[in-house]
Symmetry: none
Subunit: 143 residues, 2 copies
């Protein structure tokens, strides 16, 4: 598989449901997903494999630090397990929608091992803002 790619804009209906892009739906098969916020700009939706890795990292971090799991709880309290319905739709809980500024439209952005959920205009702004910042890396990456 090539990883999760592309952008797809979908509507949130009156009951708070959104379709997962069908391309992503096939890719993540039937397992539940984890939706959370760890960056202020958007939400991340993790397939099972990726989440297992991250969960391991979170637990290791809690053991290593002295703060009694403060970072972990900051993350998990903003997390939610997502199980698509029979039509491949998901529900985003209100408190997460607010945090990401999602109103009636969601932009799904594929990011190889995860799916990002953006407020469309915010995503455009984010791209513009960084325009040209990374030209040095480009050559290293694409040779």
């Amino acid at each position: 598989m090539s990883g999760l790619l592309g952008r797809h804009e979908f509507q949130i209906d009156a009951k708070g449901r959104v379709s997962l892009p069908s391309a992503f739906r096939r890719a993540v098969s039937a397992h539940p997903l984890v939706l959370l916020q760890w960056q202020p700009t958007h939400l991340d939706l993790f397939p099972r494999e990726t989440w297992n890795e991250i969960r391991k990292n979170l637990l290791a971090h809690r053991k290593a630090q002295r703060d009694g799991g403060a970072y972990l709880r900051g993350i998990t309290s903003n997390s939610f397990e997502i199980e698509p319905d029979t039509h491949g739709r998901i529900r985003i809980p209100g408190w997460l929608r607010e945090r990401a500024g999602l109103e009636d439209t969601v932009l799904f952005v594929g990011a190889l091992d995860r799916i990002e959920l953006w407020r469309p205009d915010r995503f455009e702004a984010h791209l513009c803002e960084r325009e040209g910042d990374d030209d040095d890396f480009a050559v290293q990456i694409f040779g």
Copy 2:
């Protein structure tokens, strides 16, 4: 399973009962849970698996330290076995409620292998207070 996730705010009724969030109820199946306080800010509710691990650690500590028994008894004396009723509700003993400042509302916070019980306003304050402290860890954990 993805671990215990999310935040859920529930009322304590006139008889001192609170519903366990249904998401958590399913996750911990039918086994009894252990509720205790080991951090001043909140209470922790441990599923069977997690508690077995912790109990092992407590006993090991008592054996290893000269006055290890003191720590153990400090913990166990603030502990309580919880068994949800037929509707999935639990009762929090008064002395534990006081210690965590719980009055009429409980905020349940999922923390992967345990459930934390917070006084809602205290939790908000706790999150704000740490805002931005951990930005360095974020990249290590989430890649």
